[in-house]
Amino acid sequence: MSNAVTALNGAKSTGYVTVKEAPLTGMITLRGTFASKGFAKMVKSVFGTDIPEQRKVSKGPEATVLWMSPDELMVVCDYAAAQDLVAKATAQLGDEHALVVNVSDARAVFTLSGAQLREVIAKEAPVDMSQFEMGEVRRTRFAQIAAAFWLEAEDHARIICFRSFAEYMFNLLKNASQPGYEVGGW
């Protein structure tokens, strides 16, 4: 475990919005039939929350569950806990047709903090940030790469992308949040 490092070693930039690479984060891909009682029960008992509605986030005490598609969820949790949670979920699903994979290492996670973070996202992602609400998650693109993001607070957002693109994502966000690059009044 001590061998594990993030893609950018916690890189940080302080512009009019602060961009930081988050520490190692647990991530689990869940695929299954949302309507199935067994699957819903597993999500509830292992991750402590319900299956989120379309494009929504549901929060348990130790895990956040993101809606990814009509048959796919992403669980965000403590890095160290991921493997155990995968095992628990797999065991509980038994013979039910589903897929549970630990993908904690496959992605890079970034946080944006600052009052104007919506505007920084709107420079890279084709999303109506004036309407985007807490509790929503959006799979979209940031400039040329796939990504997903959600708000943890009005001034705090989390963005995930594939690990190999970490440097590109960081530079995008850093450039967009340089002092003097504010859009304002939109």
Binding site: R31, G32, V101, D105, E124, A143, E167, N175, W186
Partner: protein, 1003 residues
């Protein structure tokens, strides 16, 4: 001369002077000036030379429609050609130079072309430069390139930044004149989320210049009050210096914001391209005045009447001391009146209409201005500046009645609504014969994805010419938009303005009506591209009846101004020459952008390190620190080789191969695709995906497999590992990972939606290292933690375990022919694992190797490579891979296609090995020639090289290639001509050059 007058200038701040440079000369202007107004204030009327004849050209307009005043702006990294002086705000330190002149603006050698103009008519290039053929490349083109063209290309990398911004609105109003503001107010009152954009720095548009009265107060007061009102509303965004550049399907709209063009000292991006989605667009873009076509209408000092008024009212600049006004409508009288009120001289107003003008004409007369009805300009005198005007009857052929000295001419041929944005998505126009203009036909509006109109013209842009009608129309059209949104607006009292008693405009397309050819050859339609009335008439005589063809033949309207001034006059001239009505001839198509936008704004922030996403493996930093030479593979940059000091790349590759075959090599294989396929139907699905039988693969085993497209062509290959009864892990090529994952999902979602299979792309979850060479096992045993012996982990098997404390999945597979393990560890530990392997391998002189060594070693083993042996037209059977195609399966993707006649044709070229007879290396892509020639007289081809390398292991050139009847011709030699002459002969051999029995990998 043009000069700054003592008072006036509503946009300038006379307390703040700015210094700028034009052609090296230091000049003074005021804050609020455009470059054009500041140049004119300094009597710099001459601003450039025309494109073809190098005629002296001056400012003709005051806004986005300007064709002449294009300058080179800035220097070095901030240099930009073709910037319109009329839309460039002046700032302290601005540097500009004029374009298209040599050696100087005042004395230009190319101006000789004007005397040759009768030899340079429309279509001259097409006629002249056809023959002799060879002359084009060596004589004509270099000459034309030297003499034609406008601004220079920048030499340095752009020093400014740019970015995009995504925004969403219910209604976007384009144009901040009285119509736009009134429409925005109406839409905003209904609760719509509104953006209003104005391309200049100031609100109000023409009405404030013309001194319109609204609700009994000045237009200025109305504009200020409305802007304040809009600013106070939460649902309204107001943006100046932002142009509506283009309207696209699905309510997509580009807003081009010039953030710091007016003050480059500001931090931040220079331009910001707003990528807007909106339900409705209101195009309140006003109108553009048309020039009149008379001889000498391009001489500096001849301006649009509205521009003369703009310079006077907005910037306190007079174009001349004595201005002759020439018109076919009432609006130009406003210019005469304004000039007179400013104390300037207006010797005469020439009104081409026999019956003359309305109330404004009377007002002018009352002020003592001489008004001549039914009169026209026969000719403008002057070279670099207007000196006099000859007068004639409009109805005649140009017999001069009188010549009057003057230094400026203000012309007005009527107004054309700016219908560009309305037209971008297919909005249709009607010819309004009464007002002599094309105006939007609201029954044929551009429609959105629901078949609903979504670009609503309002005010003058909709063909309403009086203040009262403009305001009423803006309100009504905004209410239409509100209704289209399903909203309703509270009852608003629409602002009112006095009705105007104006006389009707009369169409005047040539001045005088019967102008002879001499006059027509000096009557310009398109200033920037030097197209004259005579050119369009010639095109018509030569059979160019379509306006689109005439446009291309004469280049009318094809310059950077896209014919904003010339289009209507040009097509009216064409319709006159064709004796057809204007609506029959029609207009050319309006296409985005409205005016040119910077290419950099389109690129946005995509430059330098974020020009393109570069994917990096967890070990990338090590590769970079250790001098790797990279090659692009998809978005990855993989090490091609690791040259050491003093080594060439070829030497490095050779060293890496020899050391791997002799002892130990490491390859960063993290980029290989890894896709999990899981479910009760996974076996069935795998059998359909791959040509071989995958469902029989035992848990713990690996199998090489081929994937084809529906059309039978080989698409990807890789090793499949069976993880458990329901789970497979598919390795794909590096470039194929995303494509194959999408391919799988497509089949699962569209065809086999009822199969119980889930996939997940886990490519990036793992760092993967190939540990290759006779000492591979030893180094793993040294790390310790799991049994990697032949007995415990046989060839083509995999196992989970730990190695040196790392959680690892170890595959015993080989792409090099050596004893080889591919080890996957969590990506976050990849770098440390790599370091651990290097440390443990030190005693074996471990060498990391790159993709080239990988390629050579696989070629020595006769393994195919997707993209080398395949090119989208190759089926597995061509490559002798029949052993990997199951005969037992009823079906797999591509099976049926592979049974079609041309796929089973025995004459398809087949894969063989090639051994050069002299040991040299066949050039990449070489073709083998056969006997005889084909129908085109070319040598017949009998094969081509697909992979060719120098093999350090064998000390000679080896290759694989596709050859006609190849496998049946073992031992024969074939000939590969070289590009530089001579040829190489190669013997057809088995494609496995190294360790055919496979004993080295299975130890």
């Amino acid at each position: 001369m043009s000069t700054r007058i003592q008072t006036g200038g509503r946009l300038i701040d006379r307390t703040k002077s700015v210094t700028f440079k034009f052609n090296g000369r230091k000049l003074q202007g005021y804050a609020g000036d455009t470059l054009a107004s500041a140049l004119l204030a300094n009597d710099q009327m001459l601003v450039g030379r025309s494109f073809k004849y190098h005629r002296p050209r001056g400012v003709v307009a005051s806004g986005a429609e300007e064709p002449n005043a294009l300058v080179n702006m800035g220097e070095g990294a901030f240099f930009e050609p073709n910037q319109r002086a009329t839309t460039t705000e002046v700032f302290d330190g601005l540097t500009a130079t004029s374009q298209n002149h040599w050696p100087t603006l005042e004395f230009d050698v190319g101006a000789i072309n004007t005397y040759l103009s009768r030899f340079l008519p429309a279509g001259f290039y097409y006629k002249m430069f056809m023959y002799p053929r060879a002359f084009w490349k060596h004589v004509y083109e270099p000459f034309i390139r030297q003499s034609a063209g406008l601004g220079k290309a920048p030499k340095q990398k752009d020093g400014s930044d740019y970015e995009h911004f995504y925004a969403f609105y219910d209604v976007v109003v384009i144009g901040g004149g009285i119509a736009g503001l009134q429409a925005a107010k109406t839409a905003a009152a209904a609760g719509a989320k509104v953006l209003v954009m104005e391309q200049t720095a100031d609100w109000g548009g023409r009405a404030v210049v013309d001194g319109a009265e609204i609700d009994g107060a000045s237009a200025d007061a109305f504009v200020a009050a409305t802007v304040a009102e809009l600013q106070a509303m939460d649902n309204v965004t107001l943006k100046t210096r932002m142009m509506g550049a283009g309207v696209y399907d699905h309510g997509y709209l580009l807003g081009y914001e010039r953030v710091s063009d007016h003050d480059p000292s500001l931090a931040g991006p220079r331009h910001r391209l707003w990528r807007i989605r909106t339900a409705q667009i209101i195009s309140a873009t006003g109108a553009i005045e048309r020039p009149l076509s008379f001889a000498g209408n391009d001489i500096p000092g001849v301006l649009l009447a509205s521009a003369v008024r703009d310079y006077l009212v907005n910037w306190g600049v007079s174009i001349g001391e004595r201005t002759i006004v020439v018109t076919n409508n009432d609006d130009a009288y406003r210019t005469a009146i304004a000039l007179k009120q400013a104390g300037l001289s207006v010797p005469m107003i020439l009104d081409a209409r026999k019956s003359g003008g309305g109330a404004l004409a009377q007002q002018a007369r009352d002020m003592g201005i001489r008004v001549e009805n039914g009169k026209a300009i026969a000719k403008v005198h002057g070279g670099k500046r207007v000196t006099a005007v000859s007068i004639c009857d409009q109805a005649g052929e140009g017999v001069v009645l009188d010549t009057i000295g003057c230094d400026a001419v203000a012309m007005s041929g009527g107004w054309s609504p700016v219908v560009h944005l309305y037209s971008h998505c297919g909005g249709k126009l009607n010819w309004d014969a009464e007002q002599v203009m094309f105006r939007p036909d609201l029954t044929r509006m551009p429609t959105n994805q629901n078949g609903q109109g979504f670009v609503m013209p309002a005010g003058t842009a909709n063909g309403e010419m009086s203040t009262a009608a403009t305001l009423a129309d803006a309100t009504a059209r905004a209410l239409d938009v509100v209704a289209a949104l399903g909203k309703s607006a509270p009852t608003l009292t629409a602002p009112t303005a006095a009705s105007e008693d104006a006389a009707a405009i009369e169409p005047v397309w040539m001045m005088p009506q019967g102008a002879n050819i001499k006059l027509r050859m000096k009557s310009w339609l398109d200033y920037q591209n030097d197209v004259k009335v005579s050119d369009v008439q010639l095109a018509a005589r030569e059979g160019y009846e379509s306006v689109e063809h005439t446009k291309r033949y004469t280049t009318l309207g094809m310059a950077t101004d896209q014919g904003k001034l010339s289009n209507i006059n040009g097509l009216a001239t064409l319709s006159g020459a064709l004796n057809a009505d204007i609506p029959q001839v029609g207009t050319t198509t309006f296409r985005p952008p409205y005016t040119p936008i910077s290419l950099a704004s389109i690129a946005g922030s995509a430059r330098d390190e974020v020009f393109q996403p570069i994917r990096k493996t967890p070990m990338q930093d090590w590769h970079m620190a250790n001098g790797a030479d990279f090659e692009p593979v998809g978005h990855w940059r993989r090490p091609y080789c690791f040259p050491r000091a003093g080594e060439t790349k070829a030497q490095a590759v050779e060293r890496e191969i020899l050391q791997t075959r002799k002892s130990l090599g490491l390859l960063d294989a993290s980029t290989l695709g890894k896709i999990i396929v899981k479910g009760p139907d996974a076996g069935k699905f795998m059998d359909m995906l791959y040509t071989n039988m995958m469902s029989t693969l035992k848990v713990g085993k690996c199998r090489y497999g081929l994937m084809c497209s529906e059309n039978g062509f080989l698409s990807d290959d890789g090793v499949v590992a069976r993880i458990d009864e329901n789970t497979f892990l598919c390795h794909t090529t590096t470039g194929g990972a995303d494509r194959i994952h999408a391919h799988m999902e497509e089949w699962l979602q569209t065809e086999w939606w009822d199969w119980k299979v889930y996939t997940a792309n886990v490519t990036e979850q793992f760092a993967q290292v190939a540990v290759v060479g006779p000492n591979a096992r030893k180094v793993l045993e040294k790390l310790g933690g799991m049994d990697v012996s032949k007995e415990a982990l046989g060839f083509m098997e995999w196992a989970d375990g730990t190695l040196g404390g790392f959680d690892a999945r170890v595959y015993r597979i080989s792409f090099s022919g050596e004893l080889s393990y591919e080890i996957a560890v969590p990506a976050s530990q990849g770098r440390v694992f790599w370091d651990a392997l290097l440390a443990a391998g030190a005693e074996f002189n471990v060498m990391p190797y790159g993709t080239e060594a990988l390629h050579v070693m696989r070629a020595e083993k006769g393994f195919i490579m997707i993209g080398d042996e395949t090119d989208g037209t190759i089926i597995p059977q061509d490559l002798g891979l029949n052993w990997a195609i199951s005969k037992k399966k009823e079906d797999y993707i591509g099976k049926r296609a592979q049974e079609r006649t041309f796929m089973v044709d025995s004459k398809r070229w087949k894969l063989v090995g090639l051994e050069t007879t002299d040991g040299s290396v066949i050039p990449d892509g070489a073709y083998a020639v056969g006997e005889g020639v084909n129908a085109n007289g070319q040598r017949n081809m009998i094969g081509r090289v697909t992979s060719t390398y120098y093999s350090p292991t064998l000390g000679r050139g080896i290759a694989m290639g596709l050859v006609l009847d190849g496998p049946d011709r073992m031992g024969e030699t074939i000939e590969f001509p070289k590009v530089d002459g001579g040829s190489i002969t190669a013997k057809i051999v088995d494609q496995v050059f190294y360790d055919k029995e496979g004993t080295k990998q299975d130890v």
